[in-house]
Amino acid sequence: MPLVLNDEQRMVKDSAEGFFAGEGPVAQLRKLRDAGDADGFDRSLWAKMAEMGFAGVAIPEQFGGAGLGMVAAGLIQEAIGRNLTLSPFLSSAIVAATAIVKGGTDEQKAALLPGMAAADMIVALAADELPRHAPQHVATRAEPSGNGFRLTGSKPFVLDGHVADRLIVAARTSGADDDMAGITLFLVDPRTAGVAVSRRSVVDSRNAAAVTLDNCQVDGADVLGAVGEGFATLEAALDAGRACLAAEMLGVSAQSFETTVDYLKQREQFGQKIGSFQALQHRAAHLFCEVELARSVTLKALTALDAGDPRAPFFASLAKAKAGDVAKLATNEAVQMHGGIGMTDEYDIGFFMKRARAAGETFGDGAFHADRVARLLNY
């Protein structure tokens, strides 16, 4: 597979870039944050994202989606990263949709996916239990009860948990807390007795909630995939999310880099443009190279996912690790090169640094994915 966009993908890229710059710019995030909006995103924007086919990008056409695949999903997420647009795109349209597509029965798919593609339904993944990503660590228990299970445990950081119509909960039906086997995925209606959802305030204004489950009864029909074998589905969903987060961080990096280069051409000190100073030129030129590397690994991961390449998990980790490092560097350099104004809330560049940090911590940071790369290479 050549590492180059085809015509259809170039169209998605153009339309996504135009759409998010026009409909979901940084100013919208600022407004939602300052207003203390209850949802934390604009539902009319989310509806438009469904009309554009974005909400259904990873959902097959037979279930009401656009079936465009992960390269297209990544291009949308990259445009989101350029504009810091808030929406349940990553949590519902990518991660949850992938879990249901990979693990769900036809009945479950038919019941959930069309609504998700139409933005009528939001589904969120409640998997992580520790502040540092450790997908195998599942202490939440699922005890057999009636014709189903009773779930008890705590999920402290669920993306878009406060607006979710369904949760995909990872719980343990057997084994010890860190075993790969024995994890089962459940579809849980958050209105069920025993489920408590409380919204969290997050540094980059992204939307997350803490979810607790206290003897929450779920039906046997709400198991997603096979009992005890949920980890493979979970990893597939996470890898789709990781590759898209790499794309989001690429967008964050590229946008803050370009903004910074523009600033270097305008700001004057010592009677000249600061962009004429070699100390800044070399750092900017280095950053240019790093952003190009992040672009390559991200495209490779998304392409590998679309191709069903068995090395897709490897490339997802490669992309998440590299794009995360680059986003950190790009946004830190951006604030530094902007000087004092970069520290002000009024100026947008700080938002990019916050997003880079939050996206970096989500679904595994650079150290987690570097370790996974080494493990997958057998060392």
């Binding site: 050549p2 590492l3 180059v4 280069v261 270097l264 051409k265 000249q272 443009k273 962009g275 004429s276 070699q278 800044l280 030129q281 070399h282 900017a284 030129a285 280095h286 240019f288 190279c289 190009e292 590397l293 992040a294 672009r295 390559s296 690994v297 495209l299 490779k300 490669l318 690790a321 590299k322 150290a367 570097a370 370790d371 790369v373 080494a374 493990r375 290479l377 057998n378 060392y379």
Partner: protein, 407 residues
């Protein structure tokens, strides 16, 4: 792989030919620079296999697969060449010939040379008969190459060349030189330069090797004392040498940036580390901090490799980014330097062996370092200096891509 029937046939044909014609000795990993065939009048083949391999490949035009057949090339298009390269990799065939003629002068002559110059020089490069060296840097003109002072004054039908070059790679082994000379001292710095070809056996040419920190002497000082060169040996027009030099440097930079001399056909870094350092019961490398350094490096190396791949795919699709060669040269050489540092760390005091019986002949696959490890490490320090320093590449990116003021 959806390959067309024509390409499938070409692949099958190529595979069969390589199987029948590539000697077994030429399918062994390259151990050091001594195993690389450079060709030329003074070349002494390491063994018969090296000679036979060069002759057979040259007869097919496959030392320069994409050059036109009329000039000794194979006349292949890019996709056919890709097939040839992948089939050569499959049997780990060594390149039959490496030379500055192939990498640098050839592309420049194909673009800027006249028909007589192409006919005269290209087939000899393709057959490995003439080995070329590059006369660029001077004692007073390193990063600021355009300030070069070697002069060429036209007298009748000949240029008379006087001056001194430095860092002339393998000048003492080369037959001919492509040389930047100042033909118009009154013109602005970049506009008075011309691109001249001449025989290193011409009266007045002398060389003196420079011993480097690696112990090797691949570079020379080269002196020109009233060297007389026919004026037809000037490539392009007088005063256009800088354009040709820049074009050629682009090729040189891509070559240096893409060069990973330590890894051809050998174990990857983490495989070497596992053998040298050992693994814990978990399967992880015993030294956790070294493991972290290695994986960070390998992530960057893979990201760089994928970028090379993407850049080629985009160029083929008519897309692409500017100042590419500078980016690849800068990043690739910095990575290779880092790689050599890590390889030294992996082998600890074993990596320090310089000469004598302790020198190990293997390729590193046994857990002991290759005998030339310390020399390779020292050699790699030059990667970010030669062909334009890393700092010069960053200047070029700042100026051409980012268009920063005053850059």
């Amino acid at each position: 792989m959806d390959e067309s029937p024509e390409h499938q046939a070409f692949r099958a044909e190529t595979r069969a030919w390589l199987e029948a014609n590539c000697p077994a000795e030429m399918r062994q990993p390259v151990e050091g620079e001594g195993d690389v065939c450079w060709g030329g009048r003074k070349w002494r083949f390491r063994n018969d296999a090296q000679k036979i391999w060069l002759e057979r490949m040259a007869a097919k035009g496959w030392t320069v697969p994409e050059w036109p057949k009329a000039y000794g090339g194979g006349g292949l298009d890019r996709s056919e060449n890709k097939i040839l390269q992948s089939e050569m990799r499959r049997i780990r065939a060594r390149p039959p010939l490496s030379s500055f003629g192939i990498w640098m002068l050839g592309p420049a002559l194909l673009k800027y040379g006249n028909e007589a110059q192409k006919i005269e020089h290209l087939p000899k490069i393709a057959r490995g008969e003439i080995r070329w060296c590059q006369g660029y840097s001077e004692p007073g003109a390193g990063s600021d190459l355009a300030s070069l002072r070697t002069s060429a004054i036209l007298q009748g039908d000949e240029y008379v060349v006087n001056g001194q070059k430095v860092w002339t790679s393998y000048a003492d082994a080369a037959d001919w030189i492509f040389c930047l000379v100042r033909t118009d001292p009154s013109a602005a710095k970049h506009l008075g330069i011309s691109f001249l070809l001449f025989d290193m056996e011409s009266p007045g040419v002398s060389t003196s090797p420079i011993k480097l920190i690696s112990g090797y002497s691949p570079f020379c000082q080269t002196f020109f004392d009233n060297v007389r060169v026919p004026k037809d040996n000037l490539v392009g027009q007088p005063g256009t040498g800088w354009d040709i030099a820049k074009y050629l440097l682009t090729h040189e930079r891509e070559m240096i940036g893409g060069m990973d001399m330590g890894s051809m056909g050998r174990d990857s870094m983490h495989q070497m580390a596992k053998k040298a350092v050992g693994t814990a019961r978990s399967g992880k490398l015993k030294d956790g901090l070294l493991r972290a350094d290695i994986v960070r490096h390998e992530i960057n190396a893979m990201a760089f490799g994928l970028t090379m791949e993407r850049v080629k795919d985009e160029a083929r699709a008519g897309q692409g980014i500017g100042a590419l060669s500078s980016m690849l040269k800068y990043y690739g050489t910095e990575l290779n330097k880092q790689r050599q540092e890590l390889l030294m760390s992996i082998h600890g005091t074993d990596s320090l062996t310089w000469e004598g019986e302790d020198r190990h002949d293997g390729d590193g696959s046994s857990g002991r370092p290759p005998g030339d490890m310390a020399k390779s490490w020292l050699r790699s320090r030059a990667n970010s200096i030669e062909g334009g320093t890393s700092e010069v590449q960053l200047n070029i990116i700042a100026k051409r891509v980012l268009q920063l003021p005053g850059a």
